[in-house]
Amino acid sequence: MDGFDPDVYRDAMRVAFEMAATPDSGEQPWFGFDDTITNTGPAAADGVPFNPAAVATVARRANVHVPCGVEYADASEQPTPFGLMSATRIVVTLMDEDWAKVSDCTHVLLGGDKYLRRRVEPPSGLFDVGIVRVHFTAVTET
Protein backbone atom coordinates (compact mmCIF):
# COMPACT_ATOMS: atom_id res chain seq x y z
CA MET A 1 0.00 0.00 0.00
CA ASP A 2 1.57 3.26 -1.11
CA GLY A 3 2.10 5.76 1.68
CA PHE A 4 1.75 3.20 4.43
CA ASP A 5 4.92 2.60 6.44
CA PRO A 6 4.48 -0.48 8.61
CA ASP A 7 7.32 0.47 10.96
CA VAL A 8 5.88 3.93 11.56
CA TYR A 9 2.50 2.40 12.27
CA ARG A 10 3.95 -0.16 14.68
CA ASP A 11 5.92 2.51 16.55
CA ALA A 12 2.89 4.76 16.80
CA MET A 13 0.80 1.95 18.21
CA ARG A 14 3.52 1.10 20.72
CA VAL A 15 3.59 4.72 21.87
CA ALA A 16 -0.18 4.64 22.28
CA PHE A 17 0.07 1.43 24.29
CA GLU A 18 2.75 2.88 26.56
CA MET A 19 0.80 6.12 27.00
CA ALA A 20 -2.10 4.16 28.43
CA ALA A 21 0.08 1.99 30.68
CA THR A 22 0.52 2.62 34.38
CA PRO A 23 3.77 4.48 35.17
CA ASP A 24 4.84 1.75 37.61
CA SER A 25 6.67 -0.73 35.36
CA GLY A 26 6.15 -3.54 37.84
CA GLU A 27 2.39 -3.15 37.48
CA GLN A 28 2.46 -3.22 33.68
CA PRO A 29 1.77 -6.45 31.76
CA TRP A 30 4.58 -8.98 32.08
CA PHE A 31 4.33 -12.13 29.99
CA GLY A 32 5.24 -15.33 31.87
CA PHE A 33 6.26 -18.75 30.65
CA ASP A 34 6.21 -22.36 31.80
CA ASP A 35 9.04 -23.47 34.05
CA THR A 36 11.44 -26.07 32.68
CA ILE A 37 11.49 -28.94 35.18
CA THR A 38 14.38 -31.41 35.10
CA ASN A 39 14.37 -34.67 37.01
CA THR A 40 17.10 -37.24 37.44
CA GLY A 41 14.54 -40.00 37.99
CA PRO A 42 11.02 -40.93 36.86
CA ALA A 43 8.43 -38.18 37.19
CA ALA A 44 4.72 -37.69 36.56
CA ALA A 45 3.40 -35.65 33.66
CA ASP A 46 3.41 -32.49 35.79
CA GLY A 47 7.12 -32.90 36.47
CA VAL A 48 6.86 -34.04 40.09
CA PRO A 49 9.18 -37.01 40.72
CA PHE A 50 7.75 -40.30 42.01
CA ASN A 51 10.57 -40.65 44.51
CA PRO A 52 9.81 -38.41 47.52
CA ALA A 53 13.54 -38.07 48.17
CA ALA A 54 14.20 -36.70 44.68
CA VAL A 55 14.14 -32.97 44.07
CA ALA A 56 13.29 -31.52 40.69
CA THR A 57 15.44 -28.75 39.26
CA VAL A 58 13.30 -25.85 38.13
CA ALA A 59 14.62 -23.38 35.56
CA ARG A 60 12.50 -20.25 35.51
CA ARG A 61 12.47 -18.10 32.39
CA ALA A 62 12.39 -14.39 33.06
CA ASN A 63 9.12 -12.57 32.43
CA VAL A 64 9.06 -10.33 29.37
CA HIS A 65 7.42 -6.95 28.89
CA VAL A 66 6.44 -5.69 25.47
CA PRO A 67 4.18 -2.75 24.60
CA CYS A 68 0.57 -3.86 24.45
CA GLY A 69 -2.94 -2.64 24.96
CA VAL A 70 -5.10 -4.11 27.71
CA GLU A 71 -8.89 -4.27 27.82
CA TYR A 72 -10.26 -5.33 31.19
CA ALA A 73 -13.62 -7.00 31.83
CA ASP A 74 -14.74 -7.54 35.41
CA ALA A 75 -16.42 -10.77 36.43
CA SER A 76 -20.00 -10.23 35.37
CA GLU A 77 -21.78 -12.98 37.25
CA GLN A 78 -22.17 -14.27 40.76
CA PRO A 79 -20.11 -17.29 41.87
CA THR A 80 -21.75 -20.68 41.27
CA PRO A 81 -20.87 -24.14 42.62
CA PHE A 82 -18.97 -24.59 39.37
CA GLY A 83 -17.02 -21.37 39.74
CA LEU A 84 -17.48 -18.12 37.92
CA MET A 85 -19.19 -18.73 34.62
CA SER A 86 -17.82 -15.44 33.31
CA ALA A 87 -14.56 -14.78 35.13
CA THR A 88 -12.56 -11.58 35.16
CA ARG A 89 -10.58 -11.44 31.94
CA ILE A 90 -8.34 -9.24 29.87
CA VAL A 91 -7.77 -8.98 26.14
CA VAL A 92 -4.24 -8.00 25.20
CA THR A 93 -3.48 -6.40 21.83
CA LEU A 94 0.05 -6.53 20.44
CA MET A 95 1.94 -5.82 17.24
CA ASP A 96 3.06 -8.92 15.35
CA GLU A 97 6.77 -8.27 16.02
CA ASP A 98 6.16 -8.03 19.75
CA TRP A 99 3.93 -11.11 19.81
CA ALA A 100 6.79 -13.08 18.25
CA LYS A 101 8.80 -12.41 21.42
CA VAL A 102 6.13 -13.78 23.77
CA SER A 103 4.02 -16.12 21.66
CA ASP A 104 4.80 -19.11 23.89
CA CYS A 105 3.65 -17.32 27.03
CA THR A 106 1.32 -19.16 29.40
CA HIS A 107 0.15 -16.23 31.51
CA VAL A 108 0.34 -12.51 32.11
CA LEU A 109 1.08 -10.72 35.38
CA LEU A 110 -0.76 -7.42 35.57
CA GLY A 111 -1.20 -5.17 38.56
CA GLY A 112 -0.21 -7.95 40.92
CA ASP A 113 -2.69 -10.45 39.48
CA LYS A 114 -2.14 -13.51 37.32
CA TYR A 115 -4.13 -14.17 34.17
CA LEU A 116 -4.01 -17.50 32.35
CA ARG A 117 -3.81 -17.61 28.58
CA ARG A 118 -6.96 -18.92 26.96
CA ARG A 119 -6.99 -18.28 23.25
CA VAL A 120 -5.68 -16.17 20.41
CA GLU A 121 -8.20 -14.46 18.15
CA PRO A 122 -8.17 -15.26 14.43
CA PRO A 123 -5.41 -13.33 12.63
CA SER A 124 -6.06 -9.72 11.70
CA GLY A 125 -3.94 -6.82 10.60
CA LEU A 126 -3.55 -3.57 8.76
CA PHE A 127 -1.89 -3.94 5.36
CA ASP A 128 1.60 -5.32 6.14
CA VAL A 129 1.20 -5.29 9.91
CA GLY A 130 -0.21 -8.19 11.86
CA ILE A 131 -2.27 -7.37 14.93
CA VAL A 132 -2.66 -10.05 17.58
CA ARG A 133 -5.32 -10.16 20.28
CA VAL A 134 -5.01 -12.69 23.08
CA HIS A 135 -7.57 -13.55 25.75
CA PHE A 136 -6.58 -14.27 29.34
CA THR A 137 -8.70 -15.08 32.42
CA ALA A 138 -7.84 -14.20 36.01
CA VAL A 139 -6.68 -16.81 38.47
CA THR A 140 -5.98 -14.29 41.22
CA GLU A 141 -7.85 -11.09 41.94
CA THR A 142 -6.70 -8.44 44.39
Binding site: G41, P42, A44, A45, D46, F50, N51, P52, R118, R119
Partner: protein, 162 residues
Protein backbone atom coordinates in the same frame (compact mmCIF):
# COMPACT_ATOMS: atom_id res chain seq x y z
CA UNK B 1 3.73 -48.10 50.05
CA UNK B 2 3.78 -44.32 50.11
CA UNK B 3 1.73 -42.33 47.63
CA UNK B 4 0.05 -45.42 46.27
CA UNK B 5 -2.41 -43.50 44.12
CA UNK B 6 0.40 -41.81 42.15
CA UNK B 7 1.86 -45.20 41.28
CA UNK B 8 -1.60 -46.59 40.57
CA UNK B 9 -2.22 -43.72 38.15
CA UNK B 10 1.09 -44.26 36.39
CA UNK B 11 0.54 -48.03 36.23
CA UNK B 12 -2.88 -47.43 34.68
CA UNK B 13 -1.36 -45.00 32.18
CA UNK B 14 1.25 -47.54 31.15
CA UNK B 15 -1.40 -50.26 30.87
CA UNK B 16 -3.56 -48.05 28.65
CA UNK B 17 -0.46 -47.19 26.61
CA UNK B 18 0.09 -50.91 26.07
CA UNK B 19 -3.53 -51.41 25.03
CA UNK B 20 -3.37 -48.58 22.51
CA UNK B 21 -0.03 -49.82 21.18
CA UNK B 22 -1.39 -53.34 20.79
CA UNK B 23 -4.36 -51.92 18.91
CA UNK B 24 -2.07 -50.06 16.55
CA UNK B 25 -3.33 -46.64 17.68
CA UNK B 26 0.15 -45.12 17.85
CA UNK B 27 0.90 -46.06 14.24
CA UNK B 28 2.31 -46.52 11.75
CA UNK B 29 -0.85 -48.21 10.45
CA UNK B 30 -3.48 -46.58 12.64
CA UNK B 31 -6.95 -48.17 12.36
CA UNK B 32 -9.19 -46.44 9.82
CA UNK B 33 -6.26 -44.25 8.78
CA UNK B 34 -6.98 -42.06 11.81
CA UNK B 35 -4.50 -39.70 13.43
CA UNK B 36 -2.11 -41.46 15.82
CA UNK B 37 -3.36 -41.44 19.40
CA UNK B 38 -1.82 -39.10 21.97
CA UNK B 39 -1.69 -40.39 25.53
CA UNK B 40 -1.97 -37.68 28.17
CA UNK B 41 -1.29 -38.61 31.78
CA UNK B 42 -3.74 -36.11 33.24
CA UNK B 43 -7.15 -34.75 32.45
CA UNK B 44 -7.25 -31.80 30.05
CA UNK B 45 -7.26 -28.74 32.28
CA UNK B 46 -9.18 -26.51 29.92
CA UNK B 47 -12.30 -27.98 28.41
CA UNK B 48 -12.97 -24.85 26.40
CA UNK B 49 -10.21 -25.93 24.02
CA UNK B 50 -10.60 -29.10 22.01
CA UNK B 51 -7.66 -31.46 22.62
CA UNK B 52 -5.73 -32.85 19.66
CA UNK B 53 -7.58 -35.52 17.66
CA UNK B 54 -7.44 -38.97 19.24
CA UNK B 55 -6.20 -37.74 22.58
CA UNK B 56 -6.58 -40.28 25.38
CA UNK B 57 -6.29 -38.68 28.83
CA UNK B 58 -6.02 -40.78 31.98
CA UNK B 59 -6.96 -39.33 35.37
CA UNK B 60 -7.97 -40.58 38.79
CA UNK B 61 -11.03 -39.77 40.88
CA UNK B 62 -12.17 -40.44 44.40
CA UNK B 63 -10.09 -42.83 46.48
CA UNK B 64 -12.08 -44.90 48.95
CA UNK B 65 -10.93 -45.98 52.38
CA UNK B 66 -8.74 -49.03 52.95
CA UNK B 67 -10.70 -52.25 53.59
CA UNK B 68 -9.66 -55.49 55.24
CA UNK B 69 -10.11 -58.50 53.00
CA UNK B 70 -11.95 -61.44 54.51
CA UNK B 71 -9.30 -63.97 53.65
CA UNK B 72 -7.19 -62.50 56.44
CA UNK B 73 -3.45 -62.51 56.63
CA UNK B 74 -3.20 -58.75 56.51
CA UNK B 75 -4.47 -58.39 52.96
CA UNK B 76 -5.98 -54.96 52.36
CA UNK B 77 -7.71 -53.30 49.44
CA UNK B 78 -8.42 -49.77 48.30
CA UNK B 79 -10.62 -48.77 45.37
CA UNK B 80 -10.09 -45.64 43.28
CA UNK B 81 -12.27 -44.34 40.48
CA UNK B 82 -10.56 -43.69 37.19
CA UNK B 83 -11.43 -41.83 34.03
CA UNK B 84 -10.03 -42.29 30.54
CA UNK B 85 -11.19 -39.37 28.41
CA UNK B 86 -11.17 -40.17 24.70
CA UNK B 87 -11.34 -37.28 22.24
CA UNK B 88 -11.71 -38.91 18.83
CA UNK B 89 -11.22 -37.14 15.55
CA UNK B 90 -14.74 -38.27 14.70
CA UNK B 91 -17.55 -40.23 16.28
CA UNK B 92 -16.56 -43.64 14.92
CA UNK B 93 -12.95 -43.26 15.99
CA UNK B 94 -13.97 -42.12 19.47
CA UNK B 95 -16.24 -45.13 19.83
CA UNK B 96 -13.57 -47.51 18.55
CA UNK B 97 -10.82 -46.06 20.75
CA UNK B 98 -12.96 -46.08 23.87
CA UNK B 99 -14.14 -49.59 23.06
CA UNK B 100 -10.56 -50.88 22.85
CA UNK B 101 -9.72 -49.23 26.18
CA UNK B 102 -12.86 -50.57 27.85
CA UNK B 103 -12.32 -54.11 26.55
CA UNK B 104 -8.70 -54.06 27.67
CA UNK B 105 -9.58 -52.96 31.19
CA UNK B 106 -12.76 -54.97 31.82
CA UNK B 107 -12.15 -57.61 34.46
CA UNK B 108 -8.41 -57.25 33.97
CA UNK B 109 -5.86 -57.71 36.74
CA UNK B 110 -2.43 -56.16 36.46
CA UNK B 111 0.50 -55.81 38.87
CA UNK B 112 0.88 -52.51 40.69
CA UNK B 113 4.25 -51.01 39.78
CA UNK B 114 6.50 -48.68 41.73
CA UNK B 115 7.99 -45.89 39.61
CA UNK B 116 10.10 -44.29 42.34
CA UNK B 117 13.42 -45.18 40.74
CA UNK B 118 12.71 -47.25 37.64
CA UNK B 119 10.97 -45.53 34.69
CA UNK B 120 9.64 -48.94 33.61
CA UNK B 121 8.29 -49.60 37.12
CA UNK B 122 9.21 -52.23 39.69
CA UNK B 123 6.72 -54.85 40.91
CA UNK B 124 5.38 -54.12 44.38
CA UNK B 125 3.56 -57.37 45.06
CA UNK B 126 0.27 -55.49 44.88
CA UNK B 127 -2.39 -56.22 42.30
CA UNK B 128 -4.89 -53.95 40.57
CA UNK B 129 -8.31 -55.29 39.66
CA UNK B 130 -10.53 -53.22 37.36
CA UNK B 131 -14.30 -53.38 37.78
CA UNK B 132 -17.46 -51.73 36.52
CA UNK B 133 -15.64 -50.50 33.45
CA UNK B 134 -18.12 -48.64 31.26
CA UNK B 135 -18.22 -46.03 28.53
CA UNK B 136 -19.91 -42.78 29.43
CA UNK B 137 -21.03 -39.91 27.22
CA UNK B 138 -20.25 -36.63 29.01
CA UNK B 139 -23.22 -34.34 29.65
CA UNK B 140 -23.50 -31.17 27.62
CA UNK B 141 -21.66 -28.50 29.55
CA UNK B 142 -19.07 -26.95 27.30
CA UNK B 143 -18.41 -25.85 23.77
CA UNK B 144 -16.75 -29.12 22.82
CA UNK B 145 -18.16 -31.34 20.13
CA UNK B 146 -19.66 -34.03 22.32
CA UNK B 147 -20.12 -36.44 19.44
CA UNK B 148 -16.39 -37.15 19.55
CA UNK B 149 -15.95 -37.37 23.31
CA UNK B 150 -16.28 -40.55 25.32
CA UNK B 151 -15.14 -41.37 28.85
CA UNK B 152 -14.19 -44.84 29.99
CA UNK B 153 -14.98 -44.98 33.71
CA UNK B 154 -14.52 -47.64 36.31
CA UNK B 155 -12.86 -48.64 39.53
CA UNK B 156 -9.30 -49.77 40.15
CA UNK B 157 -8.98 -51.76 43.36
CA UNK B 158 -5.48 -52.29 44.67
CA UNK B 159 -4.88 -55.37 46.80
CA UNK B 160 -1.79 -55.08 48.96
CA UNK B 161 -0.20 -56.45 52.10
CA UNK B 162 -0.42 -54.67 55.44
Amino acid sequence: MRHRQRHLHKTLCEHVRGLLDAGGWFGPNVPFGAAPAVLQEMAPDDLTTMPAPDTVAVSMGTEAGVDDEEIGGGLLSCRTEFYVDVFGQDLSTAVALSSDVRDGLSRATVPLLDFSTNPAGDPTGGLIEFDEVAIDIPPVASQLDKRCWRVVTGGATVFFGE
